[in-house]
Structures are given as C-alpha cells and as structure tokens.
Symmetry: C2
Subunit: 301 residues, 2 copies
Amino acid sequence: MRLLGGIEAGGTKFVCATATGPQDIRDTTTLRTTTPSETIANVISFFRTHGSPSSLAAVGLASFGPLDLDSKSPTFGSITATPKPGWANTSIVTMLVDALQVPVAVDTDVNAAALAEYRWGEAKGMDPLVYITVGTGIGLGGVFNGRLMHGLVHPEAGHIRIPHDVRTDPFSGSCPFHGDCLEGLASGPAMTQRWGQPPDKLGPDHEAWQLEAFYVALGIVAVICCVSPRKIVLGGGIMGHEGLHEMVRASVRRILGGYIQSPFTQARIDEYIIPPSFGKRSGILGAVALAEDISEHPATQ
Amino acid sequence: MRLLGGIEAGGTKFVCATATGPQDIRDTTTLRTTTPSETIANVISFFRTHGSPSSLAAVGLASFGPLDLDSKSPTFGSITATPKPGWANTSIVTMLVDALQVPVAVDTDVNAAALAEYRWGEAKGMDPLVYITVGTGIGLGGVFNGRLMHGLVHPEAGHIRIPHDVRTDPFSGSCPFHGDCLEGLASGPAMTQRWGQPPDKLGPDHEAWQLEAFYVALGIVAVICCVSPRKIVLGGGIMGHEGLHEMVRASVRRILGGYIQSPFTQARIDEYIIPPSFGKRSGILGAVALAEDISEHPATQ
C-alpha cells in the first residue's frame, strides 16, 4: 500500500501524518518545535514507526518561512532568515530526504493550505484562488493558472502598507521591520499589544473587532485589486472570532465602493470570501497534497 | 503570406497595425476615438485595405476597459461599464469578428503590454511578470505561470488603498469611486488637480516628483507582497519623467526595509523594476502577440 507523509511545520508545533489520501488519514502526531535537530529527528522517527521505507512513497512539507523555494538554488528547501532562534538556514528538506530516502515536496504553509482548499474544498477548482491566514502572522498563498504561487520569493501579503489613521488608532504597530504594515496592525500579537490582552480575552462587542475587520479588509482589497482572485479563503486563528467574517466582508464591500463589476464583490460577497473548508486541517491536508503531487510527478518538482 | 492584425484601443485613439511578427510591422494607422460605430468602421476599413480576407489570419485587440473577458459570458469581449460616453456595453469583439471573419483575441491593454514584454523584451520569460502603467490611470497586467493574469475580472491595482498623510498632502484624491486610492493620488489627472498644472509643466525639481515616487512605490510594494513578481516593468506617460524611475526604486527599497530576502529588492533593484523595452509600442506589439497566439491555438481562447 502506497503511503503519503505530510508535515505541517510551525513555529510552536509540528503536525505529522500518514495518509493514503485526504479522506484516509492513518496516523498523526503533534510534536513541540524545539531545536531543528531534535524536532526533525522526532519527525523522522514518526515516519519510520508509522511507515516503512518500502511503503512511504513521498513526503510533503508545509513549512513556516521564509523558505528558499528556488529549485536551482544550492539552499533549496531551507528555512532562511527566520527570527526563530536556531532555525535560520535549516536545510530541512535535505535532512528529510537523507533520512527517509523518498521524494520530499516543500512549500509554504499557506500555499499548502491553498492547495488543499483548491483540490478538495468548497473553493475546488477556483483559479486564481487565494488563501489568507490571519493569526500570529498574516500570510497569503494561492493557486494561479493551475499552479501554486511562486515568484521572486513567495507572497508576503502581511507586509503591505495600508492606511493607518493615528488619530483613531495611535498604536504604532508591532512589525519589527515596518511598524504599522498590515501584519503590524492586525496580527494576533498586534492586537495583544494594542489592547493589553490577547484577542481571545476581548469580549464579542469590543471595539477591537471592528478595527480588526477594517484592517483585514484593506489587505483583502489590495489582494483583489492586484490578483483578481475568483475565490478568497480566509482563515487563521483570529478569523475564528464569531462574526468577524461578516464584518470583514461588509468592510471590503464598503471600501471597494461598487467599483469591481461583479456580484461576488457586492451582493454575493458571502460566496466570495469564505472560511476554510478544512479549518485548522488545511495545512496538514495541503502537505499530503504536496506529497501526492511529487509521488505522481517527481520530475516537475 | 500570413498577416496578423493588432489593435490598441484607447480612450482617445486607436492604433491599428498589420504585421507578420513583432520585427515586421507592415502598416500602421492611428485613428481618433469617436463613437463606437464610427471608430470600429474605420478599424475594419483599415484591415480591409491593408490585408485581404484570405491573408489576414487573426486580429489581437488590446483594449481599454473594463472588459468582459469571461469566455462563457454572453457579453464576452465587450467593453462594460466604462464612463466613456457611448462606449459602455460595446460588443467590440463581435463587431470585428462579424466584419473580418477571422479569430479575434482580446485582452486588457496592460495584459497585452505585459505579453509583449514577456515574449520579446528585457523581461523575456520572467514569470510571474507584472506590467504596471502610470498615466491617465494606473493599471496592472501580467503573466503568471505561463498565462496572462485573468480572474474574477482583471487586476485593478490602481484602486488599492495606500497610506495618505493628509498633514503633508491635503489633496483629497481624484478617484470618483474612492477619492484617495492609489490612482486618486498618483495618476496624471491627480497630479494636475493637486498642483494646478499638468505633470509635464512641473519642473524637474518640483516637490511633486518625490511625492509621486512615494505613492507609486507604495503601490509597487503591495504588488511585490501580494504577487512576488520576478520582474516588474513600469511604464506609462508619467514614468517618462526623467529620474522618476530611480526615485521610485529608492522608495520601494526604503519601504520594504530589507524584509524581502532577495538582492533584487535591495542592491540590484535597478534590474528588478525596469522601464518597458518597447516604450509606447508595448501595447500594439502585445496586440500582435495576442493575434499570433489565437492564430496558432484558436481552441484555447
């Protein structure tokens, strides 16, 4: 039996899974992210225990970044300049290939989540599809003309600049690079710093949520204007707040002001900006999808 | 001999050309944009004079918009909600096909320009490639994963919202939909309204240019963060101002603050954000490229 491996590599935890496909996850485990060598050894141990060298066909890695995804680069598949202690320049793909002796496909966590939603979710086949996550960071992945979005590096939509009226929101922003970029104004840590308590402690009627919806909407408007996606999947921990999706949609519609000629940016916007079909499982399912692709088309990676 | 026709349809003029390829433009004409019926009759007359029904293989149309580019739509190939008097809902592709009896490919003027640069320019083969024009309007086209950028509609990058400090720039913006969106702050008409004279009358040391560079750079930063292009071709009438390209590049680099891990957003940014190889000819060459594509692959349109 052909087994696929998936790894969702995050800054605080690694989720590993074996599966024959998205509907058939066999085993999963969640590992704490410690040092690269210890964490990756634990990942390898999981796959050696739950697969066998002959049954494991390929592994997909959906990773935090920034990542070197240039297949011609000598450091392809490495985590590059992350501020996470010890993880900068970790050649995670090489370590996995050496230990497991199977093809390993790698992409950003957000591109992997986009792939899962594109392949199996409510947004199936919608192209361009964009997946936006609003949580500890703000990230963007997507499928464009049938393939995942890669470019000079990968999208970094959290770092666009958006209007910031310091008279109504004097918070100067939490981004160490840019201060009040989108992520600096609207990520989880930004909310915690602005309001003095984490987002999950803010009541449902707290003014924080209207401001959050406005900033996220400004980011989405930039994405709509630059990419013109056919569907936007909006996930991440912050978006779990009840009612926030509706507030973001209303704000996007208000900001666009009827300019984009489509019902999906107007009366039918609830069909256009949608939550992930797989919730928190988008990432690990995306990793399995990456494994599936490389097992079928190893030469294109 | 197989002849290709190109049309660059603009709000003030239509440029028509016959060519065997980009290096071999045979005849061109420039027609004033009047009513749809008169203008299109003149276009048809040009192709009847300079081609013959048997020699003309296909026509490419690079048009102002907004356009309906959804091939499944009953109004495919129409100019839709333009404010230009008389032109809303003009089914220009149908009129050309009926009169000339050849395949007609249509796309936005900016996508066509992007295609010309992608196929024959300094940015040849760079994918994703983005073409940004700064002139009467601000527009974006591009090639992503081998094909032109199409989506829900088409990119409308002129209408993103950017930071606007009313203390240093009290101008409220010229966009009838959004006021101070990117186009409302940085298009040619916006400059004229803000400074009381058209851009070409502003001296080379006028403060207008530094502000213009800053706004254009904010737009480019949004494009870089959302799309991660491998190359940005920056054209349009405003960008013809001497020294403006250098000012925009410096401003992009300053705004990004070293975050994007690539030499092309830092020391080598002059290779990343470049002027069009074909200057004002990108549009008509792009139209010829569209014609070439549909003559070779009519079924994919």
